[in-house]
């Protein structure tokens, strides 16, 4: 869930093209992000809306020198999943997108599209959960909108949040800042949200002890930003997962990234569920994690800061930036391979 059109790398838009046909219809891609059709998106959005902000391809646009603006729409099935709900997701998602630019999130808008017949009780639960998340993050919801549409015109409820933040002093965070030699960290276990949501889907019939990690990261980021310019890149690995974020950093900074398989924090249960379904946990969405690129000399300090925070206690140094232009992983077998980008929906496979 990202800020800028150019960066649809992690969006869920993909378009099908059959042998030589032009793209005709927008296709679904649940687990989104990945390889398909950056080119096309550019064709639809980037050209039409072209300006210096869009071209920056950041999680949030930077306005007036120090104010960030970001937007995201949230749709999730089921609405209530272990560890959270669409309301918490909507607040944390936008709080985190502001944070990822090195900004302190302050104000949110919240726009609801509700299906006729939606239970008021559920709406109240969602709103309460938003209020709680906003309180925890210290942000205010200052404007909103409510639309009710005909039965069948929307799948229960969609929420859009947009957010405004103010840059921390000395912040210079950008997807383009990674340099060879920098160190890559992650704030905790990978794939919890994606797998919690997936295994909560009735049709899959899995029971897992997995909870979504959905959380506001601004507290953690605020602490981290005391390291100032040493913090080079911040990115929340939402749709498309860690793999996609690493790819984006690699592409936008013009660098390579090497990660170490042995250092990747993953819960046993998430790994197991991935094995059942033939899914790569690096492709799973996270909603309370951040990938951090930091100057090498500050890596240990950054790790320490993260570990001292509730939402960073499982943080790890997971890799380093190099000049290979590739995202690679050093396996536990001492070999190395390229990290796959997700394509299309994440679906359970048998093959």
């Amino acid at each position: 869930m990202h800020g800028v059109f150019g960066r649809v790398l992690c969006s869920v838009l993909q378009v099908w093209r059959i042998r030589g046909d032009l793209m005709e219809r927008v296709l679904l891609s649940h687990g989104g992000g990945g390889t398909m059709m950056e080119k096309l998106i550019e064709e639809v959005f980037a050209d039409a809306f072209d300006n210096e902000y869009i071209r920056a391809m950041e999680d949030a646009a930077l306005l007036f020198g120090n104010i960030t603006l970001t937007t995201d729409s949230f749709t999730v099935k089921p609405l209530f999943f272990p560890g959270g709900d669409i309301g918490k997701l909507a607040v944390c998602g936008t709080v985190n997108d502001a944070s990822m630019r090195g900004a302190k999130p302050l104000f949110l808008t919240a726009a609801f599209i509700i299906e006729e017949g939606f239970p008021v009780e559920d709406l109240k639960k969602i709103v309460k959960s938003m209020a709680e998340a906003a309180k925890e993050a210290g942000v205010k919801i200052v404007a909103g909108d409510t639309k009710v549409v005909e039965k069948g015109s929307v799948d229960r409820i969609f929420i859009n949040t947009s957010g405004i933040g103010v840059l921390y002093e000395g912040a210079n965070v950008s997807i383009k800042n990674a340099k060879p030699g920098d160190i890559v960290l992650i704030s905790g276990t990978i794939g919890d949200h994606g797998m919690a949501v997936m295994s909560a889907r009735e049709e899959l019939q899995f029971d897992t002890p997995i909870f979504s990690d959905v959380a506001p990261l601004n507290g953690l980021i605020e602490k981290l930003m005391t390291l100032g310019e040493a913090i080079k890149v911040l990115r929340d690995p939402t749709r498309g997962g860690v793999a996609e974020v690493l790819y984006e950093i690699s592409k936008m900074s013009g660098v390579g990234i090497k990660i170490y398989e042995e250092k990747l924090p993953v819960k046993e249960s998430v790994k197991s569920a991935c094995e059942f379904m033939g899914i790569d946990f690096l492709h799973l969405a996270n909603e309370g994690k951040v990938v951090v690129v930091v100057e090498r000399d500050y890596a240990e300090k950054a790790l320490e800061i993260m570990k001292s925070h509730e939402y960073g206690k499982d943080a790890e140094i997971i890799g380093e930036v190099n000049d290979s232009k590739l995202v690679t992983i050093n396996t536990i077998y001492g070999t190395s391979r390229i990290v796959d980008r997700p394509i299309g929906e994440l679906l359970p496979r048998i093959c």
Partner: protein, 80 residues
């Protein structure tokens, strides 16, 4: 092709077993492994247990590399 995952049998109810891997629970058909017992590991493919994991063979495999190396060393020695 054919993703299959070793999963521990927790409970058996008729033709269905509750299996577990790393905390992940899935109810699977055991129609093809009629001899399965609670505590066994089964290979689960597409919601069906397709075989029981042979514990002895699994144990045996662990030693195989050492055996192999010995054989190879012997062979190398014998050759040289």
């Amino acid at each position: 092709m054919c993703i299959a995952v070793p999963s521990k049998v927790l409970k058996i109810e008729g033709k269905i077993a509750e299996t577990e891997l790393g905390g992940v629970i899935r109810r699977v058909s055991i129609e093809m492994v009629p001899d399965v017992k609670v505590g066994d590991y089964v290979m689960v493919h597409a919601g069906v247990a397709i075989s029981i994991v042979d514990k002895e063979e699994a144990e045996a495999q662990r030693g195989l590399w050492n055996e192999l190396m010995e054989v190879l060393n012997d062979a190398a020695e014998g050759n040289s």
